[in-house]
């Protein structure tokens, strides 16, 4: 094959990208419900940005080009008894949508599994090719 990107590279890099996505989801879920004393210091959900890396005609893998923080505003809650509450008695809760993050996690796990399957198939085909004529 002339292309420097083998099936192993393609699936391997896609697995890395999905792993980054899974890590951001884990961070978001871990910080769901965490509160802060001000709007600016409240935890913002992390969003990985996937980008295609092309190598020749049709051959492409994927990479995480950047990890952005969500622009959604932190949720204001009136809790005067909270030790972090500001002068108005408000605290700011992280803008994490737990349900959406769980759905994203399932999709990530599926995508990861698909790439593992691709790699297993490619490996067994390569080994069969090596055994040609024996």
């Amino acid at each position: 094959m002339s292309s420097p990107l083998s099936v192993f590279d393609i699936a391997g890099r896609a697995m890395s990208a999905q792993m980054v996505r899974l890590n951001t989801t884990a961070s978001n879920l871990a910080n769901a419900g965490s509160v802060s004393g001000s709007k600016d210091t409240a935890f913002k959900a992390l969003r990985p940005v996937f980008k295609t890396v092309s190598e020749g005609e049709g051959i492409a893998t994927v990479q995480v080009s950047s990890i952005l923080t969500s622009q959604d505003e932190a949720v204001k809650k009136h809790m005067p008894d909270h030790p972090l509450a500001d002068a108005n008695g408000d605290v700011w809760e992280a803008n994490v949508d737990s349900a959406a993050e769980m759905v994203d996690m399932l999709e990530t796990a599926r995508a990861y599994q698909n790439n593992v399957q691709v790699m297993q198939t490619a490996k067994s085909l390569t080994l069969d090719t090596l055994r040609l004529g024996k």
Partner: protein
């Protein structure tokens, strides 16, 4: 090329194209969640015809690659449908194995002839 063509017939070219198509379908699966990615595939019949008439496997792939028409469009512009891609991938893997066994048969025949047993 002339000797290998008579040795392995259509199967040498077919194996090269199958391996290229494997990488192409792996690319589609890898980009299943990339916004804006357009799934691609080759017209295997045409590519094999081209390879048979003397062009390299790479050129044959480049000339016959096209975009997959999705059954349903998605909001983010991605046209990868995992069910389709996985079916194609599995099909292509089986066809690769089939080509391998054809090649194995050819090699065994030759070895028998050489050894004269």
């Amino acid at each position: 090329m002339a000797t290998s063509e008579t040795l392995f017939g259509v199967h040498g070219d077919a194996l090269a194209l199958r391996s290229q198509r494997l990488a192409l379908l792996a690319s589609n699966i890898a980009n299943a969640s990339t916004p804006g990615y357009k799934a691609r595939d080759i017209d295997f019949g045409k590519a094999l015809e081209m390879a048979q008439s003397g062009s390299s496997a790479d050129d044959a792939v480049d000339a016959t690659v096209g975009y997959r028409v999705p059954l349903q469009t998605s909001m983010d512009g991605n046209t990868v449908e995992l069910s389709t891609e996985q079916t194609m991938f599995a099909e292509n893997a089986v066809q690769y194995r089939t080509t391998l066994s054809f090649l194995n048969g050819r090699i065994n025949t030759l070895m028998t002839a050489i050894k004269g047993e």
